[in-house]
Amino acid sequence: MTRYRIEWVPGSDLLVGFCFCGAVHESEDPVEMWAWLLGHPEGHR
């Protein structure tokens, strides 16, 4: 199932992105976060 999730950490400006492949990424910029998620598999381990 191809599902992406972005959680905004309460009390902070931090976004945590979860790719369907299990990779996790942190960012404070939603544009950069979507670019990382949709860039799968590049940069996903």
Partner: protein, 339 residues
Amino acid sequence: MTSFVRNQWYVAAYGHEIGRDLFGRTILGGRLVFYQTSAGEVVALADRCVHRRFPLSESRLDGDTVVCGYHGFTYDRTGRCVFVPGQKRIPRTARVPAYPVVERDSFVWVWIGDAEPVAQPPRAPWLADPGYTTVCGMEPLAARYELLVDNLLDLSHETYLHGGYIGTPEVAETPITTEVDEDRGIVYVSRRMADAACPPFYAKSTGIEGRITRWQDIEYHPPCLYLLHSRIAPAGVLPDGDGSDPHGFHVEVVYAITPETAHSTHDFWAVARDFALDDHGVSDFLAESNRTVVLQDVAALDVLEQVIAAEPSGYQELSINIDTGGLAARRILARMAAP
């Protein structure tokens, strides 16, 4: 900004709008005429006589056929011409396009595109569920549909644009979780407020006087259907362990976002609730309040459309965390609109 998304289902009207009178409406830049047959089925045809372009919506019904009000060209429910004046031969090309229609959940959905429909429209079952009471309306929006998608995917604007109705400080202050189901093309945005002020929209309709636990769970089915699952309860009151929720108040806020032209949109809205089902006072209050809220959005987006139309191309927007869901919706719409 993207362009129209074709080969999709769009809400053309509420079922109660379509009867035995011809009803014209522009959808994705094309003019359609709708009517109900004597058997009660809704028909959608192109609203232009093949002869001299006269609008069929300005014509008349004769049984289940449409008689052009200019020269009498007559069309059946499939769009086939069955009569032309003064001659027996009906030209082979005398046909107007007919559009697939599905009636469900109080909406009339129409398929816009050249391809055959590949699936049924998405559901909003509460609108026709006897366990809910629904108020609804449609407001014309003089703005491109993408601005309404942006608006609805980021509810932090409630705090600033809809204060005194549905907005409280906690909406803009509370972080969101965004999910995208790529396979089904659905965007989810969730905002869970554990201890929030109760805005008048919910205080007066539910009778809750103190602070509340307020959940906003958005489910956007691009391009047309937007669902906001809203749960209200006294602060700290959660659903039971088995998933039942006898102490929660549930409001299903439904929008259908149907482009009219490149710069205007049909803004269908409905509010379905599972409490005070027979209380007409609550219905009247929610109808008036939600229409006011929609008109606040309409006023803002109408202005925004003018700003965008006048600006030089290439203007660079700024996106922050509140826009995470809206960015996801934009991407899916762009993908769907791609040739």
